[in-house]
C-alpha cells in the first residue's frame, strides 16, 4: 500500500521538479521524465531512511536532490556521448500539431487584446526587449510596462484557460 503522505508529496513536487529538470535538460529532451522520476524516487527513499530531519524546508531538500541529479546526468551524459552520435531531440508529429493548435489559440487571444497591451506583449515578451527599451519605444514609465505586461498576461491566461498550460507532470491519461 502506498503511503498517502508520499502520494501527496509526489503530487505536489512532480510539477516543480519536472519544470526544473526540463529547463536544465532542454524541453525536448525525452529523458526529462525519467530524470524527474528518479529525483522523486530518491527524495522518497531519503525521507523513508530518515534523512530529512526538517532542518531545511522540504522544498529545499528536494531542490538539492534535483540539482545533484541534474549535475550527475550531465556528467554521465558527457562520458556516454564522447564518440556517440548526437541524440535527436526534435519534437514528434504530435507535438508539432499540438504546437500549431496552441499558436492558433494564442493568436486569437492576442488579437482580442487592446493595442496598448498587445504592444507591450510584443516588445517585452515576444521580442525580449528590456523593460527600459520597451518603455522608451512606447513612451511609458517602467512601472507602466510591468503593469501592462502583467495585466496582459492575466487576460491572456483567462482567455486561454487552464488547459493551455502544461501541468509539467507526465502527459496522457
Amino acid at each position: 500500500m502506498p503511503d498517502p503522505d508520499f502520494d501527496l508529496l509526489v503530487a505536489r513536487f512532480r510539477p516543480v521538479v519536472g519544470y526544473k529538470v526540463r529547463r536544465a535538460l532542454g524541453a525536448w529532451n525525452p529523458e526529462w521524465e525519467d530524470v524527474t522520476n528518479e529525483v522523486l524516487a530518491q527524495a522518497l527513499a531519503k525521507i523513508r531512511a530518515g534523512e530529512f530531519r526538517g532542518e531545511s524546508a522540504i522544498g529545499t531538500f528536494i531542490y538539492r536532490i534535483a540539482c545533484r541529479r541534474i549535475a550527475d546526468y550531465f556528467r554521465d551524459k558527457s562520458k556516454v556521448l564522447r564518440h556517440a552520435p548526437e541524440p535527436s531531440s526534435l519534437p514528434g508529429p504530435e507535438e508539432r500539431v499540438d504546437r500549431e493548435e496552441r499558436a492558433a489559440r494564442l493568436a486569437a487571444a492576442v488579437r482580442r487584446l487592446k493595442p496598448k497591451y498587445r504592444d507591450v506583449v510584443f516588445l517585452y515578451d515576444y521580442q525580449g526587449l528590456s523593460r527600459e527599451e520597451t518603455a522608451r519605444k512606447l513612451g511609458l514609465t517602467l512601472a507602466q510596462v510591468s503593469e501592462r505586461a502583467n495585466y496582459a498576461r492575466r487576460l491572456l491566461r483567462r482567455m486561454l484557460g487552464g488547459s493551455f498550460f502544461p501541468s509539467f507532470g507526465p502527459r496522457g491519461d
Partner: protein, 199 residues
C-alpha cells in the same frame, strides 16, 4: 492573490538575467512557494507559446487562423528547394565529427555569440533567426566531448548552471545551431563558433 517578494524575480529568471547564485536562490524559493512556481510555470508556457507562434500572432488583420502554419511550411519548402538547387560545396573536415548531410552549413544561419575569449562562462548562446525555421537545436562540445544539446523555438538559449559550472579555462568550447522547419526537416546549420575562458 497574495504577493510574494520573489514575484518580481520571475521575469528576470525566465529571461536569464539572474546571476547564477540569484537564480539558485529563486529556484529554491519556488520549490517552496507554490504560488511563485505556478506563476513562473504559466508565464514560461505563455512565453514559449508566443515565441513558437512567431510574429504572425501579432498580425493585425485576422486571417483564417491556421494560415500562418501553411505560410511557414510553404516558406520552408521554398527554402529547401533553393538550398537543394545550390551545388554542395566539398565537405570540410569537421572538428566536431558531424556527419556529411550538412551541405547547407552556414547558409542563412549565423551565430551572434559568444565567441572568442570570455571573462566568465556565458549565460546564453544566441543566433540570428533563419527564415522558415520553426525550431532550433543547439549543441555544445569541448574537443571530442559532447557537453550538451537542447532544442528551442527561440533564437537564444540559456546555458543551464550545471553546464556553465563545467566550463573551465584552458579548454576550447565549440557550439553550433541547427534550424528545423515546421515539418521537422533540418534546413540550416551554423558554422561552429568557439570560445574559451581567460585564465
Amino acid at each position: 492573490m497574495a504577493r510574494c517578494v520573489f514575484e518580481d524575480r520571475i521575469d528576470a529568471y525566465l529571461r536569464g538575467e539572474l546571476a547564477p547564485e540569484e537564480e539558485a536562490r529563486f529556484e529554491e524559493h519556488y520549490f517552496n512557494c507554490p504560488a511563485c512556481f505556478r506563476e513562473t510555470a504559466e508565464r514560461s508556457a505563455l512565453r514559449d507559446a508566443l515565441k513558437a507562434g512567431g510574429e504572425a500572432i501579432f498580425r493585425e488583420r485576422p486571417r483564417r487562423i491556421p494560415a500562418w502554419a501553411y505560410a511557414a511550411t510553404a516558406a520552408a519548402v521554398f527554402l529547401i528547394a533553393v538550398i537543394l538547387s545550390i551545388p554542395p560545396s566539398p565537405p570540410k573536415p569537421s572538428p566536431l565529427g558531424f556527419s556529411g548531410e550538412e551541405a547547407v552549413r552556414g547558409e542563412g544561419l549565423s551565430v551572434v555569440g559568444p565567441s572568442g575569449v570570455l571573462a566568465a562562462p556565458p549565460d546564453r548562446l544566441e543566433w540570428r533567426p533563419a527564415s522558415g525555421a520553426a525550431a532550433y537545436e543547439v549543441t555544445l562540445s569541448a574537443g571530442e566531448e559532447s557537453l550538451w544539446s537542447a532544442g528551442t523555438t527561440e533564437t537564444s538559449i540559456l546555458l543551464p548552471s550545471e553546464i556553465r559550472s563545467r566550463i573551465q579555462p584552458g579548454r576550447s568550447y565549440l557550439w553550433r545551431v541547427r534550424a528545423y522547419a515546421a515539418e521537422g526537416r533540418r534546413i540550416a546549420v551554423s558554422e561552429p563558433s568557439s570560445f574559451s575562458l581567460a585564465r
